[in-house]
Structure formats: structure tokens, C-alpha cells
Symmetry: D2
Amino acid sequence: MMRFGLLGAGRIGRIHGLNVAARSDAQLVALSDASAEAAASLAQASGAKVATTDAILADSGIDAVVICTPTDTHADLIEAAVSAGKAVFCEKPVDLDAGRIRRCLEVVAKSGKPLMIGFNRRFDPNFAALEGRLRSGEAGAIEIVSVISRDPGPPPVEYVKRSGGLFRDMMIHDFDMARFLLAEEPVEVFALGSALVDPAIGQAGDVDTAAVLMRTASGRIAQISNSRRATYGYDQRIEVHGSKGMLRAGNIHETTVEIATGAGFRADPVQNFFLERYAAAYRAELDAFITACRDKRAPSPSGLDGLKAQILADAATESRRTGKPVAVALEAL
Amino acid sequence: MMRFGLLGAGRIGRIHGLNVAARSDAQLVALSDASAEAAASLAQASGAKVATTDAILADSGIDAVVICTPTDTHADLIEAAVSAGKAVFCEKPVDLDAGRIRRCLEVVAKSGKPLMIGFNRRFDPNFAALEGRLRSGEAGAIEIVSVISRDPGPPPVEYVKRSGGLFRDMMIHDFDMARFLLAEEPVEVFALGSALVDPAIGQAGDVDTAAVLMRTASGRIAQISNSRRATYGYDQRIEVHGSKGMLRAGNIHETTVEIATGAGFRADPVQNFFLERYAAAYRAELDAFITACRDKRAPSPSGLDGLKAQILADAATESRRTGKPVAVALEAL
Amino acid sequence: MMRFGLLGAGRIGRIHGLNVAARSDAQLVALSDASAEAAASLAQASGAKVATTDAILADSGIDAVVICTPTDTHADLIEAAVSAGKAVFCEKPVDLDAGRIRRCLEVVAKSGKPLMIGFNRRFDPNFAALEGRLRSGEAGAIEIVSVISRDPGPPPVEYVKRSGGLFRDMMIHDFDMARFLLAEEPVEVFALGSALVDPAIGQAGDVDTAAVLMRTASGRIAQISNSRRATYGYDQRIEVHGSKGMLRAGNIHETTVEIATGAGFRADPVQNFFLERYAAAYRAELDAFITACRDKRAPSPSGLDGLKAQILADAATESRRTGKPVAVALEAL
Amino acid sequence: MMRFGLLGAGRIGRIHGLNVAARSDAQLVALSDASAEAAASLAQASGAKVATTDAILADSGIDAVVICTPTDTHADLIEAAVSAGKAVFCEKPVDLDAGRIRRCLEVVAKSGKPLMIGFNRRFDPNFAALEGRLRSGEAGAIEIVSVISRDPGPPPVEYVKRSGGLFRDMMIHDFDMARFLLAEEPVEVFALGSALVDPAIGQAGDVDTAAVLMRTASGRIAQISNSRRATYGYDQRIEVHGSKGMLRAGNIHETTVEIATGAGFRADPVQNFFLERYAAAYRAELDAFITACRDKRAPSPSGLDGLKAQILADAATESRRTGKPVAVALEAL
């Protein structure tokens, strides 16, 4: 029985908290949140007690913490938690600043405690199955990895201003997915971006429509495209072209119902909300964390994976600003 | 808070028991099972206590019972439960004998207690959405209803011998689905059946491959086909052809992954196991029962729906035996 | 070089005539039609001369005739043509009366000349490929054959009155397809039919919505359903369930374009017109006729295939009238 | 009746020649080819006479010429043909050198004769329908255009050496398609390319796997990816993401047959050969040329479209060589 503390009981914290509580091999002991209301609500639903973050970190009966607080607190909390001897699962990103991530990872390394970063899409049953089949060689040698990621609608401009920009806030998932699938580190990033969805996003200095090209040392190519708006749902697709064939994984429609009329054949929109689309992924990712901790293996994706995705996001941000491709050296990390 | 007792903690009982226990507006108080081991296992997982059936029925703190015992006990338990003042959710079928069902429903009617029958497929999100859109007129007037239902593999012959035969054991779900979609009662049933999957099933006097045609008074047509074996998974499809168009709902593949090679484009098999395929349906069906009880509405599908499906299954069984179509008079019930 | 005469230059005659003219190993020498205008138009397009039917049959330079005249002239023309030493390709049906077909086939047999019947769907590249793969054992032993056939819209009632009824006029294609796929003769036919599309069709004594169940001696099952109206195009699907798997072949959409919006994902209607849907089939069927004649093999589908489909259509018509299944003895023919 | 001469009776010349010959409003009068055998074969099949190129250009009875000779002869032949008063349809590209194209187009402009370039994919019924619906606003404002183009297998290295490189030989079609769909000129091109399919292609200085990103002045983004090898057929897909939704058009499978077994659901590979995949496109493109000439409208795609695609291909070639994005100024042309 692994005993958990949860830091942050917002939307994603609630998901992780209830997933912990639903397991027979884990217990959600305590949770903290700046909002007493959010904390109380999740405490009631999960059977955990409300506590302060300090009390949770000081509680020797707690083995692991899940960090779902605002991004700018992640690095400090990771450091405090590993220093207090906890295994840590932290929502992405570790920090918006790669230097800060590096220092945090050094603290983690010295502590010897496990750290896992919440790149949930690796655990989507469809994407995970694709990756497994890719690894087994079903598509042969990897040549072109394509990732399409489109949100149903743009976030508020106030959120955008604090987000670090589309490449760090949204495309970071796709950078991680590209690395996951390429099986070789990108060495160069070129990015384009525009504010086509909401001019206010452009005025805030960010983009809402973007595309990236990356290459690896051996010449593999990754394409990523993002939009902050897709009228037909939350569009999440990957496709890998290899020497033996193509593997792809697509969206999940709301139902399997189809209507055929003179206007044609119409299927449902795809699942619209990330908590629904990735519900199974969140459960599987927690399972991977618990299993790795129990088996005393380093959990994956690691803090280093978090750093590498951040470096790619930084490179894309710079490329988009300067109009030039940016070299990255992830192998050396 | 609705308080439940569960009679029968086998495969399907476990599903319902855990679904009750997972709700915030219901509590699984007690459960009984002939197997002490099965009872203890589910008691631990759900937090319910183990009790005898008699004690559960005698417990005035229990509002409702879920009956998941062997078929030949259903009618007696329904009668005992409603007589003890419980609302009842009973797995299909009420009984393999329509006369016995009729007598049971009379007891239920006199008790004034609600009875719902577990035709879970009505609550599958895909089929329920299709039915709702059909009712809204999207396909116009209903003309041809087609139901395809194929199990991954045949049950043991020992099970077949006690099952009442394919039409009562397997196709009964499809008779209910056809009635659900036709929105008009069938008046005639013609059935064909063969033992093509397993000769032992034929030697036991049953069939494993079957098809039925039904018509309603106004001339609507229903087609049903069943097989006890589908190599590619649990095949569950419905299609309704109407004056304005066609509505259909299909299978759910294990993942969305697709591989393309020189051999073509290959998608996964469809979900193989009914507990997985219909997991959401079981939750929705329980929700419908609880909501109906709470709102003091008669739950649906009712005991009468159970009787009508059984009469259609009996008619198909007779048609297959005699080689002649069999008239049924469901409207009069 | 095979030299052809064409009897009947209407819609389907024009197709066959132009297909003959487009081949490098065949020549359309002459054609006849009751309408001088239709004859002249096709003569100009094909390079053939206009002639009388008698002159065509008397022309010793003509090796084969294609018969596309009204149904009630087919049997007489077949007899005249084979007696004049021509190979004959005749559009289905040979006649609406099975007895007349039998007598005609005796004349053909005595003549020793080849006769092929235009069941074009066997030559559809999709259906032909499915049948070939079924024969190769890909789906294992055949268990359930399902044929769905829905026309875009009903014919004029005047046509319906002279048509012999839906089972002989429309479903006859599906009876042939079911025989083609079952690889064993049906021994029993049960039919339902309604006039749901156009009440005038019902007043004319016919149906526009129908379904049939057939079984073979070994217990294979065939399902057929027909509607005279499908809002979404010309719906032509087959599905075969076997011991090793399921083979199916579907419709062809007008284009591959798909639009995704908040209303869902919408593909085009399916090809609406039989001449477009089966264009490749008509070419392949002519090729099969020419090849069989050249190689001195009996062409397929044969006159006997035409007779058997007609007997099934008669049985369905009788079953629908009497409400009883009708036994047929095709093996003995 | 428009009278055609054909220069070049190879694989693509034969397609155009037979398409001209099959029309009722056009006549293939004469054809020339360096290979007497190729010329004679097509002359027999089409009814045209064999002539020299000079004789064809000098024949005042010929209205138009179709140029299907090797690329390095295109510009000279276009100039000669328009100077001889012919309307010209020329296979892409006009030349591998943009400067030579410019000079050629000046000669065409002075002649006042129409010139159309064979970007056949614009006339594919699927892509043309998509473009029409895009223009009608169905997907709203255009944001991201994605073009995937993968050949079944790489050409011989000898061909590659003379081809001008992948960007000019293969991706030029996709540059034209991107321009066709973007409805705004690209202003910048960034390209990646690798030799992953055949090392000999890399040794010859070319790539066989490539991806390009382009942006327009208003911020629209185009993604293109190419591979010289796709095991599953000739992969030709386009997708346009817009403010109101997504429009896409996909591949055509060899048949609609699908097999379902324990290994999953398997559909056919996609059509493998460009002459088959684009057969309808070649007919429609010829029709567009003839119609434009008859209506005295400038045919489209024009020589200028050919020049612009070439400039994009040159820019991509340079970008790939230098590792830097390359600005282009197509609006000014």
C-alpha cells in the first residue's frame, strides 16, 4: 500500500487524487490546496484529509506526492518533496526556465528519490500501443513522425500571457511525443507560428497556430502542427512512416453512431475534453509511477525527459522569433 | 442515499455491486452468494457485508435489491423481494418460461414496487444515442431494423444445455433491441438456426448460428442474426433504415491504431469481452434504475419488456423447430 | 476479332454497345432498336450500322449478339439467336416465367451455342474480389451471407406493374449474389415485404421494402434486404461470416472528401446511379463473355443461373403472398 | 472539333493521346516520338498518323499540341509551338531552370496563344471537390494546409541524377497543390531532406525523404512531406484546417473489401500506380484545356503557375542545402 499526498486539488489534481483513491494498492492520505473549497470537495470525494503542504511533506507516513499546483511552484515543491524523502509525480512542466529545471534535477539526483513527469499522452492506450508496435519493428526503420494536436478552443488571453507561449504550454506535449516516437534525439528545430484564431493572442505576443520541423542526426524527420481551435473536437493524431509501413493512431469519436442521408454520411465529433480523452491515460500513468516506485526502477518519463521537452520548446520559441532554425544538443544531457 | 442488497456475487453481480459502491448516492449494504469465497471477495472490494438472502430481504434498512443469481431463481427472488418491499433490479431473463414470468409480474404489480430488467444494451452510449436520434426523427419513418450480434466464442455445451437455447439465452438481447428500435410490436417471427460452430451444440438440440425475420402490423421489418463465434471480437451492430436515411452504430476497436503495409491497412479487432464492451452500459443502466426509483417513475425496461422479449424468443424457438412463422400478440399484454 | 450485333440500344444497350466498340478484340457491327433515334445515336457513337433484328441474326459475319431489349422479348430472341448460330449475352432476366426459361434453355442446349446472363454484380471488382477470397478460404467455412441492396429511389408505378414485382425485378440480383457467395444451393425461402416507400406500389400489388431468409441443406443462412429508396445513394453491400472471419465489401463514396465541424465528420453520399456504380462491372462482364467464347468454355453466369435466380424470386414472391416458407429444389436442375 | 498533335508518345503521352482520341469534340491528328515503335503503337491505338515534330508544328490543320517529351525539350517546344500558332498543353515542368521558364513565358505572352501546365492533381475529382468546397467557405478561413505525398517506390538512381532532385521532380506537385489550396502565395520556405530509402540516392546528392514548411504573408502555414517509398501504395492526401472546420481528401483503396479475423480488420492497400490513381484527373485536365481554349479563356494552371512551383522547388532545394529558410517573392511575378 503506497500512501500519497496531493499538492493542488484543481482540475487535474482532482483527477489524480481520485485515481489514487480508487486503487487497492494506494491510499490518498492528505491533500492541500490554496482554495479551501477545492480541498474540502476533493477530501470528501476521496476520503483524504485536508492538510497544509508543509504538513504533507513532513508526514513520515506519506510515501509519495503528486504535484498539481501552478507551474511556477513545481520546481520548489519537487525539491522540497524529494528532500523530505518522497517519491514525486509532477505535472508538466517542471518549470518554464530550462536552467531552473536543471538545478531542480540536480537536487532530485542528489536525493536519490524517483521523479516522474506527467506527459500523460505516452500512456494513452492508443499511443502507447502504437509506440510498442513501433519498437517491435512493425513499421521498420522510422523515417517521418507526424504529430497533430489541436485544442477545441483557445484559453483566455490572461492564461496565455502567463503560459510561456504555445510552444512551451501546448506543443511541449508534442515535443515529448515526437521524442518518444523518434527513438533518437532531435538536433535541430524550425518553427512557424501565427495568431489566426484570436488576434488578442497575437497582441499578447503569442501564437495560436504553429508548425515545427525537426530532424535527428541520422536524418529522421518530425513534423508537428498545433492549433488552439478545432471546431470538431480535441484533435490528437500521430502517424509514423517507416521503411516497412505506416503506423497511425487517431481520435475517438463521441459515439460510433453514423447517420446517412442525402447530405452524406455523418459521424460524431471527436471527444472534446482532454480529461475525457485522456481518462485512461491518467490512470495508466499513475499505475506506471506506482509500479516503478514499487519495483525500485526509475519512473519514465523522467525529469530529464521534462528538461529535454522544455529545451525543444525553448528552441521552437527562439526559432519562431528569429526566423532561423535552432540547433539543440539533447544527447549530451 | 439508496441502500442496496445484492443477491449473487458472480461475474455480473460483481459488476453491479462495484457500480453501486462507486456511486455517491447509493450504498452497497449487504450481499449474498452460494459461494462464500465469491461473497467475501466482493464484500472486501465493495465494503459491503456478507449476509444471507433471507437476511437481506428482511433488512428494513435496504431499499433495493439487485438479483444476479442463476436464472431459475429469478422469479422466486423477485416475488420475495417485492413482497418484502424492495425495489428490484433483476438480470435478464425473469424466467425461461413465459407463464412463470406472467405470474411473477402479477405479484410485482400487486406489490406496487418497481422492477427493472437488465437489458443492458439499451444503455450502451452508442445504441442509446442512436435510439434517441431515431426517436427525434433523424432517420424518418422506421422501415428496416437490422441487429447483428456475434459472440467471440461459444459457451461450454453444459451451459448450452441449461440455457433454454440460443434464442432465449443470446438472441433475447436482440429481440429486446429490435423492440426498442422498431417502436412498434412485432406480430410475426420466422427463425432459421444451424449448428455450424460446434457440432456438440447441435447434438445438445441447440443451434449456434441463427437468423430471424420479424414484421410489425404496419409492415416494418426486423432482421436479426447471431453467431456463437466471431474470430475478430464481440460483434455488436445495429442499423436502422428509414424514410429519411440510415442510422447505424458499430463496434469499438481495441485501439485506434492502424498499420499500413503491402498487405493493406489493418485495424485492431473489436473489443472482445462483454464486460469491457458494455462497461459504460452497466453504469448507465444502474443510474437509470436509481433515478427512476428516486423520481417514483416506473423503471424501463420493465418486467413486461422482459416478458415480451421472452415471448419472441419462445416464438423463434418454435419457428425454428416447426419450420413455420409464428404469430405473436404483444400489443395485447 | 469477335463481331457483335446489339439488339436494343436503350440505357443498358448503350453501355454494352460502347463497351464492345471500345475493345480492340471486338467490333460492334450492327445494332437494332424500335426507336430509330436511339439506334442512330448509338450507331454514330459506336461506329456500328443500324439494321433490323432479323438482318442482324441473318448476318453470317456476326458472331455474337447482346440482347438488351424489353424483358418479354428475351426468350424469343435468345432462341432465334442461338438457332442462327450466334453466341448470346442476354440481360437478366431470361423471362419472368420459369417455365418459359426452361423451354428456352432447352433450345439453347440443343443449339450448342453459349449463353451468358447479365448478372453484372458478380463482376463488380469489389464483389468479385470478395468472392475470390472467400473461395480461397480466407473466411473459412461459410456460415451467414448478408446482402443489402437499396435503390436511390423507386421506379414509376407503371414500371412496377410490368416488372414482375420487387423479388423478380430487383431482388433477383441479390438471389444470384447469395447463390454466388453461398457456394451451395438454397433449399428454402421465406420472405417479408411491405409498401412503405410509395403507397401506390402497394396498391399495384407490389412491395418496396422486403427481406428474405434462405437456408441451404447444410445449414448455411442467407439474409437479403431490399428497399426501393435510400436517401444516401445506391446502397450495395455484402458481408459473409465464416468460421475463420468475416469478409465484406461496401459502397463507393462519390469522393474521398470529408469535412469535420462541430456537427461531426461528414463524408459524401455513395455513388447514386447504377451505371456509374457498376461501370467497371459491365466492362468486366463483357470481357468474361468474350474470353469464354474465345476459349470455347461455357460462359458464367449461365442460363441455368438465370433460371435458378428466377425460381428463388418466384419462391420469395409466393412466400410473401402465402406467409409461409417455400421449398426449392435447385440442385436437381 | 479541336485538332491535336502530340509530341512524345511515352507513358504519359499515351494517356493524353488516348484521352484526346476518346473525345467526341477533339481529334488526335498526328503524333511524333523519337521511338518509331512507341509512335506506331499509339498511332494504331488512337487512329492518329505518325509525323515529325516539325511537320506537326507546320500543319495548319492542327490547333493544339500536347507536349510529353523529356523535360529538357519542353521550353524549346513550347516556344516553337506557340510561335506556330498552336495552343499548348505541356507536361510539368516547363524547365528545371526558373530563368529559362521566364524567357519561355515571355515568348508565350508575345504569341498570345494559350499555355496550360499539366499539374494533374488539381483535377483529381477528390482534390478538386475539396478545393471547391474550401473556396465556398465550408472550412472557413484557411489556417494550415497539409500535403502528404509518398510514392510506392523510388525511381532508378540514373533517373534521380537527371531529375533536378526530389524537390523539383516530386514535391513540385505538392508545391502547386499547396498554392492551389492556400489561396495566398508563400513568402518563405524551409526544407529538410534525408536519404533514408536508398543510400545511392544520397550518394547522387539527392534526398528521398523530405519535409517542407512554408508560410504566407498573412500567417497561413503549409506542411508538405514526401517519401520515395510507401509499402502500402501511392499515398496522396491533403488536409486543410480552417476556422470553421477541417476538409480532407484521402486515398483510394484497391477495392472496398475488408477481412476481419483475430488479427484485426484489414482493408486493401491504396491504388499503387499514378496512372491508375489519377486516370480521372488526366481526363478532367484535358477537358479543362479544351474548354478554356474553346471559350477563349486563359487555361489554368498557367505557365506562371509552373514558374511559381519551380521557384518554390528551387527555394526548398536551396534551403535544404544551406539549412536556412529561403524567402520567395511570388506575388510580384
